[in-house]
Structures are given as C-alpha cells and as structure tokens.
Amino acid sequence: MKRLSTEQLLGLDKFVVDDEEAHIEVDRQLCRDCSEKPCCVACPAGLYTVKDAEISFDYAGCLECGTCRVVCPQSGSAIRWRYPRGGFGVQYRYG
C-alpha cells in the first residue's frame, strides 16, 4: 500500500484550530539541553522536529494523546501541556 506521509495522514483528520490559545507550549531554551529529544520520535503526529539545531513545534495537527508530555525528560517545565479549549482541536469522525 502506498506509504502516506504524516502530513497526508493528518490531512485526513478534522481539526478546529484555536488561533488564540496554543494548548501545548514548548520552551526552546530548555530543549537545547535535552540531548535525546524523545518527543521527535515519539509524537504520533510528528509535530516535533529539529530545525537549525532548535526544536520546532506546531500545535495544529495535535492528536491530543499526551505522549510528548510523558516522554519529555523535563515534563512540566519544557512542555506545558493542556487539552485544547472546549470545542477546539481534533474531531474524530470514527474514533
């Protein structure tokens, strides 16, 4: 079967993006000291990437699983994790 890129997969999902509030915020400063950067392999939506030696993260496309929050060695400080505000975020039609 044709491999789908993560962007293509996320393109199949319905999202209501909250332009006013980012439900996950990443502290790039603290990420610099993180050698393993497990968020980059573990996020099922591939939203964490390294660009120019800096963590780049986009909360649109988040599947709200909570994996990044638990795998981050500096959880609570480097990642501020919440669910999106009511009505925003991913909307599964199948689930």
Partner: protein, 431 residues
C-alpha cells in the same frame, strides 16, 4: 448555569462518565455531564472491541439500539518475524448469537449514543467545555471551574481519561511515568463489506479480531491490532512509551511499515485510509492506581488506570463502564447519608472490590511487570516462527524428529533453556 448546585458533576463523556451520569440520573439526581469535545466521542479512540458483559447488565440487550459494528466470532494472535508468521486462531459461532460476547465499534458514534442514554435518563450534557480546575473549600472538592464559569456540586466524578488532569489537581494521582503507559496509533481503513467478509472468512455481521506481536513494533513492548468494522477495519499499533522514548524509528513511520507487512498488506489492499488517531493507554494496572476517592471527588475509568492488557485480551471499556456505575452508586449512598466526605464516598472502593474491576486487576496484578519483558517481543516471535517454518519445511534432507527440530531452533536463538523455562513459567502462572 447560574447558582444551581448539582448532586454530581461528571467530567468526561466517555464510557465511564456517561455510565455514571446515566445511573445517577435514573435515580432522579441532578447531574451535569461535561465534555470538552464538540460531541461525546469526538476526542476518543480505542482499538476496537468492547466486551459486552458490563453494559449489558446496565442496559440489557443494548446492541439492539447501540451503534455497534460486528459481533466478534474469530480471534487470532499472530507472531511476526522476518517475513514469517505463526498464528493461532479461535472461532466460536456462539459468540455471534445474543447475548453477544464482544462487539467492534467506533467511538465517535458509540460514545455519542451512550451519552444520549444519560440525557434520556435526565442528565444534562454540556459539550464544548473544558474543565480547567476543581473548586475546593477547606480541602474538599465542591465543584469545577471552566474558563470563567464556576459550577457547584456535592460530588465531582473525574472520568476524564488517562491524562486525568483532575485527579492530579485533586492530589489523588501523580503524573505517570513512561513505563506505565503505551501510545496507541490507529488508522481506520475503509473497505467494502463483501471484501471484509471474504478476506476474513466471515458471515453476516460476524467480526474478526487479530493481534500481532513481534517485528510490527520493531521488537519493542507492545503489538499490533486489527478489528473488522462493518465497512472498515481499525488497524493500529500500541507501543510502550518508555520504549518509544528510545526508538530509532519515528512512531508514525512504524505505523506505515506495519501496513506494508506481508501479513497485513493483503488484508487492507485497496482500502482507503479515512482517519488517523492516537491515544495513551494506562498499562500498569494497580501499579498506577491513584487514590480513587477523596472529599467530594471520585475517579473512574482510565483516569483511575482501570485497564487490563493480557496481550491476547485488552479491556478498558468494560472497566470504565463498571467503575462509572460504581462511582454513581457511591454518590447515591453518600447522598442518602447527606455526607460527601471521602470517608462516606469510600463505599466506591468497596463496590469495586466486589465487582470484576478490582478482582480482575488484583488477580492479574503481576501481569504488567511480566509484559515488560522485552524477550516477549524481540526474541520469542523469531523463535516461534523459526520453529514452525522448520516443522512445516520439506527439502529431502535427513529426517529430524520434532523435539530435535525444536531444540535446534532454541540453540540457534541463543536463548538459554533456563530462561525459556522461567519466562514460560511466569507466563503460565500470571496470564
């Protein structure tokens, strides 16, 4: 919502929350069921099958009106390694007759339906609202805060799922560790009904479930799953979060590799991916159970870690439903006493001890530790597939008896017989 005070506010309209709200409302209590999604189920995903017993006790013959997909008649466990596969299949046609043993379903539709049953019973459902915090007074929970709104209740039931921020805010739960949860990823792949029947050898509305162990997770603890729905299959992977932390392959790539495994490809060929989803699973059983009651608060379902994964059986829905029911019953008793203190609400734990929820989790207490054994995923699938491919191979060479064939493969695998005996004994006594 004004100055009204509810008997109970239930946070989260998953199976735990909707069941709790339904049971409370049926007894004439004022209940508010709050869900952050635009509709119940719109935030939820799972593998794909619910064992029917728990809901059938509360809503007899629920399948006659609930949006369920197929009654599971065929169970298969498959070990995968290097293009080889060994499967064990069990078929039981009794499972396709009422009372159904288990049914596949899709959460967006099913959770909406279950929440509608709570509404029918008289519960008030409020969607599009994220509960941000608990209201407390002298250390007792007296309500919730959502944005600017504060709403009061005698008791709050936290049925807010695995990432339960409420149980953590109430000081009942600590943040879990990567070793205590797994990440699940799933794709819903649409296929015509006839194709599903033909490919899985099914009749009528019968369904098949297939679980996979081995190279699908790159040897990491976890496995693959496939559930047949009416006109789609739910295909996915579950991988231990602590293994994923060290994985060399990105999680979404593992999933794409899995789809192209020779054992999977023929089952989904020609299908159209309709949705991609991900969610955590609490895997540590009693090892991660928070305090499940406090002054004015109870914790139910995934928020309490009520999931049992035996590898060949994965249960969370029936635990969520039964714990939601027990939480509701505990609140009803507390109301009769006019006392919503933790002491009064502790009846919840007693109810769970009398039900399968804590009895099963207690009986399988040592399973989570057994399932962490990496050999189960990295070594044994290879050993099993090499034994069986050898047993079924004919090439005209010298005859070798079965036991020697097996012993030779064990020797090749580099595993010691003592290790095999220990793991075999642990598996046999714990599962």
């Amino acid at each position: 919502m004004g100055e009204e005070k509810f008997t109970a506010i239930v946070v989260g309209a998953g199976p735990a929350g909707s069941t709790a709200a339904m049971v409370l409302a049926k007894e004439g209590n004022d209940v508010l069921l709050i869900e952050k999604g635009a509709s119940p189920g719109s935030k939820n995903m799972f593998g794909g099958r619910m064992y029917c017993h728990a809901l059938n006790r509360i809503l007899p013959n629920f399948w006659e009106e609930a949006p369920v997909e197929r009654a599971v008649a065929r169970e298969t466990v498959t070990f995968l390694h290097g293009g080889k596969a060994v499967s064990l299949t069990c078929r039981n046609s009794d499972w396709t007759k009422p009372p159904y043993h288990s049914v596949t379903l899709l959460r967006a539709e099913f959770d909406s339906w279950l929440a509608s049953k709570a509404e029918e019973a008289g519960a008030e459902l409020a969607c599009n609202i994220r509960v941000d915090d608990l209201l407390t007074e002298d250390g007792r929970v007296v309500g919730i805060r959502a944005g600017e709104d504060e709403i009061l209740a005698d008791a709050v039931i936290a049925a807010d799922g695995v990432n339960s921020l409420l149980a953590q805010k109430a000081g009942l739960a600590k943040m879990f560790s990567p070793g205590q949860v797994s990440t699940g990823m799933k794709q819903v792949i649409e296929l015509p009904e006839e194709t599903i029947r033909d490919r899985f050898g099914l009749e009528g509305n019968a369904g098949a479930v297939q679980l996979f162990v081995g190279e699908c997770t790159g040897g990491m603890p976890g496995g693959g799953f496939l559930y047949t729905n009416k006109s789609s299959v739910s295909l996915g992977l579950v991988v231990s979060a602590s293994a994923l932390q060290r994985s060399s392959v990105r999680a979404p790539d593992l999933m794409e590799d899995f789809k192209n495994n020779p054992e999977i490809l023929p089952l989904i060929e020609g299908g159209k991916v309709a949705e991609y989803s991900a969610h955590l699973i609490p895997e540590a059983g009693l090892g991660m159970m928070p305090r499940i009651y406090g002054d004015g608060i109870l914790v139910a379902g995934d928020a309490a870690g009520f999931v049992l994964n035996l590898g060949y059986v994965i249960r969370g829905m029936d635990f969520a439903i039964a714990s939601g029911e027990a939480a509701a019953r505990a609140v009803i008793c507390a109301k009769e006493r006019g006392d919503f203190s933790g002491n009064s609400l502790s009846g919840y734990q007693e109810l769970l001890k009398k039900s399968f929820v804590l009895q099963d989790l207690e009986a399988y207490r040592k399973v989570p530790e057994f399932m962490e054994n990496e050999r189960l995923y990295a070594e044994y699938p290879g050993l099993l597939t090499s034994i069986f491919t050898n047993v079924f191979s004919v090439d005209g060479s010298q005859p070798i008896r079965l036991h020697s064939k097996i012993l030779n493969r064990v020797k090749e695998s580099g595993l010691s017989l003592a290790q095999l005996a220990v793991d075999g004994w642990k598996g046999a006594t714990r599962l």
